[in-house]
Symmetry: C2
Subunit: 335 residues, 2 copies
C-alpha cells in the first residue's frame, strides 16, 4: 500500500451512470470552465445526479495538491490566496480555489469586496475560484467542500486551495482534508488568537503572520512559539512561522518554499498517504452518517411521525431516549 | 396538545432500569449536590447507564426556565451569568449553570479565572455550576449539553442557564435549545460582530450590550437596529437591546425584566410550546443520527473494515460514494 501513491485508476462501478453525466465528465476533464461550474453546482445540490457525477469523477482525482488555508476574520486570507495563486500561475500551474465564506449580515460587504477583487483572475482560465456560503448547505458543509475539491482535483487542476474562516468545528473539519494546512494569524486583533477555534492551532503545518508590518507581529510569533513548546507534533515537523504582507507580496516566495519543504517532508515520511487515509476515514464516517439518516427518514420515520414524536416529547408524554432506541431497534440486525 | 403544558408525568418505560440508577435519581430529586454532580458525569460519559439515567430523569424535567446566553469571546458572559444568578437567588429561585468553554491553549487562563471567581457561589447550594469542555465530547456537544440541562431541570432547579461562546455551529445548536436566548455583544471589538457566527444574531430573543460604559456602545446598538430593520421576526417580537455593565451590576434588573417580558410573550402566543416542539424535533433528529451510526459501527462496519476502506479510497482503488451506498443498502428495507 505504502508506495502506490494514487494515480487515477478507472475502477469498476465508477463509469458514468448515464450519458448526461458522462458528457459532463468528459467536458470537465477537457478543462471547459462552464462544465466545471456546472459540475460544482450539481455537487452542491446533493441530488442523485451529484452522486453519479462524483462516482464518475473520483477516479480522476488524487493528483492535485490540496492546500487548506484558514484564520481569523480580517486576517487577509483572500489576499494571500490571491498572491499564492499568482505565484503558482507564473510557474505554469493551474489553480482551483474553494472559498468558504461564513457571511454574516455585517461582514457580507467586506467579503464580497474581496471576492470581486479576485474576479480579476477570471480573465485567466488557469485560475478558477468558487465561493461557497456556509449556510443552507445540505449534507454537511465539510462534506460538500470536500466534494467540490474532488471535482476541481479531477478536472486536472495542479493545486486546489481551500480557504475558510477558522472559527468553528465545520472549519476545522474543512481544512483537515487538505494535504498542507496553513493557519493565518494577524497582529493587533485584541486577544489575538482568542477568536480562533480551539483545535485550529493544532492542525497548522505552516503558520503565517500576515500584515507582519504591523505592530505586534513579534508578540504573535512568541505566542505561537510558546504553544509549540508545550505541544510537540508526532511527526518531527515544527511548523515554520512565515511573515507576510500579502497586499504587496512580501513573504510569498518564502511561503511557497515552506509549502514545498513540507511536501518533501510528507513524502519522505510516508506521512502524506497516512494522512490521506485518516482524512478519508473521517469523511467516509461523515458520509455514512448522512446517508443512514436519509435512509431512516425515507423508510422508518415520516415527517408526520417526526412531528408527532417531537410534540409528545415536548409535552413530556414520551421520553426521547426510549424513542430513539425503539426506532434504531426497528432496523433489526443483519442475518 | 396546545394547552397540556408539560407537568412532569410519570410515564411507562421511564422507571429506573436498576437499583443503582433508581437510587441516584432519588438523591438527585432530593437535591443532593454530590448526586447531581455524579449524575452529570454519568451523562457526559455516554455509557449505557447514562441512557437509563436520562430515561428515568426525563419525566421530572420540563419545569425549569432554560436560559441560553451566548456571545463573542471576552464579552463578559460569565460575569453576566454570575450577576443573573445572584439576582434570581435573591428572589429565592434555585439556579443551575452549564458553561460550555471552548478553551484554546491561549484563552484557557482567562476562562479558568472566571470560573474560579464563580466558585464563590459554591458556598450556596442554590447555585450549581458545571463547566463543560467543547473538545473530546462524545456523541455531539449540543446533545450532551442538552442532556446535562435535562438533569439540572429534573433536579428541580428553577432556572437553568446555558452559557457558551457564539462562534460555531455547535454553539448555535446549543443555545437553540433554550426557552429564552440572550446574545451578548460588547463595544470596541474591532469589527464588532464579525467574530460572531452567522446565525447567532438571528436566534437572539434579547440582545445585551455588555461593558456599555465603553466607547462604541451606541454604534453596536445602531448595528443591531439596522439588522433588525432588514430581517423581522415571524412572531411579533422585536428583541430588546439591554445595556449592562455586568462587573458592577448595572442593567441586570432591566435584563431580568426583559426576560420576564419575553416569557409572557411566549405564553400569550403559545410560542413557548411550539418552540419546544421545534427544539425537540431537532434534538431527536440528532440523537437518532448518533444512535444509527453507533448501530452501524456495531453490526455493519468493524474498525478493521473502516480502516481498510479508508486506505482503499485514499489509494483511489475504491470510490467512497459507491462504498457508502453499498453499506447503507446492506441495512435492507423494513418488512
Amino acid at each position: 500500500m505504502a508506495d502506490s501513491l494514487a494515480l487515477p485508476i478507472r475502477i469498476e462501478g465508477a463509469q458514468a451512470g448515464n450519458g448526461q453525466v458522462a458528457d459532463l465528465v468528459r467536458r470537465v476533464r477537457a478543462g471547459e470552465i462552464r462544465a466545471l461550474s456546472r459540475a460544482i453546482s450539481t455537487v452542491e445540490d446533493h441530488t442523485g445526479e451529484s452522486r453519479e457525477l462524483l462516482k464518475a469523477l473520483f477516479p480522476y482525482s488524487g493528483n492535485a495538491m490540496l492546500l487548506g488555508l484558514t484564520g481569523s476574520p480580517g486576517a487577509g486570507k483572500s489576499t494571500l490566496v490571491d498572491q499564492l495563486a499568482h505565484h503558482y500561475r507564473r510557474q505554469g500551474k493551474t489553480i482551483g480555489v474553494v472559498a468558504v465564506d461564513p457571511t454574516s449580515p455585517f461582514s457580507g460587504g467586506a467579503i464580497l469586496g474581496d471576492r470581486i477583487r479576485m474576479q480579476s483572475h477570471h480573465a485567466d482560465p488557469g485560475i478558477f475560484i468558487r465561493s461557497m456560503a456556509t449556510r443552507g448547505s445540505l449534507g454537511g458543509l465539510a462534506s460538500t467542500t470536500a466534494d467540490v475539491a474532488t471535482v476541481l482535483d479531477a478536472s486536472g487542476r495542479d493545486i486546489v486551495i481551500i480557504e475558510t474562516v477558522g472559527v468553528g468545528q465545520d472549519e476545522v473539519d474543512i481544512v483537515r482534508l487538505a494535504d498542507v494546512t496553513i493557519v493565518v494569524l494577524v497582529p493587533g486583533m485584541g486577544d489575538d488568537v482568542q477568536t480562533i477555534k480551539a483545535g485550529i492551532m493544532e492542525i497548522a503545518d505552516i503558520f503565517v503572520i500576515n500584515k507582519a508590518d504591523r505592530e505586534g507581529a513579534e508578540r504573535v510569533e512568541r505566542e505561537i512559539r510558546a504553544m509549540q513548546s508545550l505541544a510537540g507534533r508526532k511527526d518531527d515537523w515544527t511548523p515554520p512561522i512565515i511573515k507576510t504582507v500579502a497586499s504587496d507580496g512580501t513573504g510569498i516566495p518564502e511561503l511557497v518554499a515552506a509549502i514545498e519543504k513540507y511536501q518533501q517532508h510528507l513524502q519522505q515520511n510516508a506521512r502524506a498517504q497516512i494522512r490521506r487515509i485518516e482524512n478519508w476515514r473521517g469523511r467516509i464516517t461523515e458520509m455514512l452518517r448522512d446517508a443512514l439518516f436519509q435512509r431512516v427518514l425515507q423508510y422508518y420515520l415520516s415527517e408526520g411521525e417526526a412531528a408527532r414524536y417531537a410534540a409528545e416529547v415536548a409535552e413530556h408524554k414520551r421520553d426521547p431516549y426510549s424513542l430513539v432506541e425503539k426506532i434504531v431497534d426497528g432496523l433489526g440486525k443483519p442475518e
